[in-house]
């Protein structure tokens, strides 16, 4: 099992959710987050003077998946969240040791 964590542009969230839904993904967790990447935020102008926005708002989408679904999900997220411009975000994949459905006590792939 894998945990796929995608940091995407907020306005792309709906498209990402739809794409994952079409794959048959049964649940995602979404968090509003802030951060910076290689551009270190960006500058804005106010009354002719620059100010730096250090941390840009992003959305973090977390999906727990069975191994065979990971490639499809990554492709779907990449396609849905991509604008080709700076700041499109990143996808992190990590191994999930265990998953437990609280209501029934099921574990492993059954619980995903």
């Amino acid at each position: 099992m894998k945990l796929v964590t995608a940091i995407v542009k907020p306005f792309k969230l709906d498209e990402v959710r739809e794409a994952l839904g079409e794959l048959g993904v049964t649940g995602v967790t979404v968090t509003e987050v802030k951060g910076f990447g290689r551009q270190k935020g960006h500058t804005e102008l106010y009354r002719g003077a620059e100010y730096v926005v250090d941390f840009l708002p992003k959305v973090k989408v977390e999906v727990a998946l069975a191994d065979e679904m990971v490639d499809g999900a990554v492709e779907a997220i990449t396609k849905a969240a991509q604008t080709g411009k700076i700041g499109d975000g990143k996808i992190f994949i990590s191994t999930l040791e265990q998953v437990i459905r609280i209501r029934t006590g099921e574990t492993g792939v059954e619980a995903v």
């Binding site: 804005e44 102008l45 106010y46 009354r47 002719g48 003077a49 620059e50 100010y51």
Partner: protein
């Protein structure tokens, strides 16, 4: 029948005068909202406290001595017979009728109209010194400004002194007497105070400190715009004849046109210079247009008034940049809007009348030198005695907590 008409005209002019004063009074709300919108949220309560308190101080000090000085002549500086409101007097019916229409409004309505102008001049100062000045130092300054500094330069022009009588200085509703005066006191205060922490780097780079609330800034602008119809329209002082009604109507049209011209010019220039449609510049531009037309909102055609306002809008964008470049930190642009554009307004009078540029510049210089000198003395004494600036830690935490003990938005805990 003849007497009835005289009485009716008296009543109508008095009513118009009072309601114009009410509009100008409402400008205090406009300044409050504009300034609350352009400071950071941690300094909102304090700027509002300054605004409500300065309005009350202006009312009290103008009652105590200001009105008496400004319209009773400079002799009232030493002989306070007219102080404490004693120079406010209404004529009796017999006196009004005997004057044959020369006395056409109540004496008390004149006081009311004048007192709200003082408050406007003082409101200009609060925005420029925002976010770092001690509340009580500011209010102490307001006492001297509204009771003494403003009325003394007022007597030289509107009070029938040498600026209007000898120099030929012309300032219909106060581009110089109200706006330049207020901005000059603000400039002096900012020089004694220094810029906000973090506004300028040691290498001269200017950092933006964005205002907290753009909706408040926008409503503040509209309130001021509306109040200005009283400011300029009321300065015709009458409405009960065809001529004065026509004049009032022209003043309304020109005041509105200048604000519109100023807004569009500033918005367009900000887009050209900075690549973004900066709302705060548009707001400053509208106010600049209003200040620019205030010295003569009557003589210009509507088109000319739009242009005079537009030039004001251009000036204000460039002026804000200029003051930043010499590290004079004015969070709301008050010195640019009211001072630099106030000067333009005085010069613009010469376009549509035979007033000379020399007379206008002389008047502006007299107002500037007097206000700057006396303000500087007061700021200096305040700096020596109670101090004018909050500590670095208080400035970081926000003056809402250190000066007022109340934060403006307690549900949001951000610095």
């Amino acid at each position: 029948m003849e007497n009835d008409i005289v009485e009716l005209k008296y009543a109508l002019d008095t009513f118009y005068f009072l309601m114009s004063g009410v509009l100008v009074m409402w400008m205090a709300a406009g300044f409050s909202m504009l300034e609350a919108g352009l400071v950071r949220s941690k300094n909102t309560t304090e700027i509002l406290t300054k605004n409500v308190a300065l309005y009350a101080i202006a009312c009290c000090m103008y009652m105590v001595m200001g009105y008496s000085i400004m319209y009773g002549g400079t002799a009232n500086l030493i002989m306070p017979d007219g102080w404490f409101g004693n120079s406010i007097a209404n004529a009796t019916t017999a006196e009004v009728l005997a004057s044959g229409g020369d006395t056409y409004y109540a004496g008390a309505s004149d006081f009311f109209f004048q007192v709200v102008f003082v408050a406007t001049a003082m409101s200009i100062v609060s925005g420029a010194v925002a976010e770092r000045m001690k509340l009580w130092a500011f209010l102490a300054f307001a006492v001297v400004m509204t009771g003494f500094i403003y009325p003394v330069q007022g007597v030289w022009s509107w009070g029938g002194g040498f600026l209007s009588e000898t120099v030929g200085y012309s300032d219909y509703a106060g581009s110089g007497i109200v706006h330049l005066c207020g901005a000059t006191a603000a400039l002096s205060g900012v020089l004694f105070l220094g810029p906000r922490k973090g506004k300028y780097n040691s290498d001269g780079k200017v950092n933006a400190i964005p205002g907290a609330n753009m909706p408040l800034a926008a409503i503040g602008m509209f309130i001021l715009w509306m109040g200005w119809f009283g400011f300029n329209g009321g300065s015709e002082l009458a409405v009960s004849s065809v001529e004065s009604s026509n004049n009032v109507a022209s003043v309304f049209v020109n005041t509105n046109a200048a604000a519109a011209g100023g807004l569009l010019a500033a918005l367009g220039l900000a887009q050209l210079l900075y690549g973004k449609a900066d709302l705060t510049m548009a707001v400053n531009g509208a106010l600049a247009g209003l200040v620019a037309i205030t010295a003569d909102p009557l003589s210009a055609t509507g088109g000319m008034a739009t242009l005079i306002g537009a030039v004001g809008g251009i000036i204000v964008v460039l002026s804000v940049k200029f003051f930043d470049s010499i590290q004079i930190d004015d969070p709301v642009g008050a010195i640019s809007v009211h001072g630099v554009v106030g000067l333009w307004g005085l010069v613009a009078v010469t376009i549509n009348s035979d007033v000379t540029v020399l007379a206008q510049l002389t008047g502006a210089a007299v107002i500037f030198v007097w206000t700057f000198a006396t303000s500087s003395i007061v700021w200096y004494l305040l700096k020596l005695s109670m101090g004018v600036r909050v500590s670095d830690e208080q400035e970081y935490e926000g003056v809402d907590v250190s000066e007022c003990g109340i934060v403006a938005y307690p549900e949001f805990d951000s610095k």
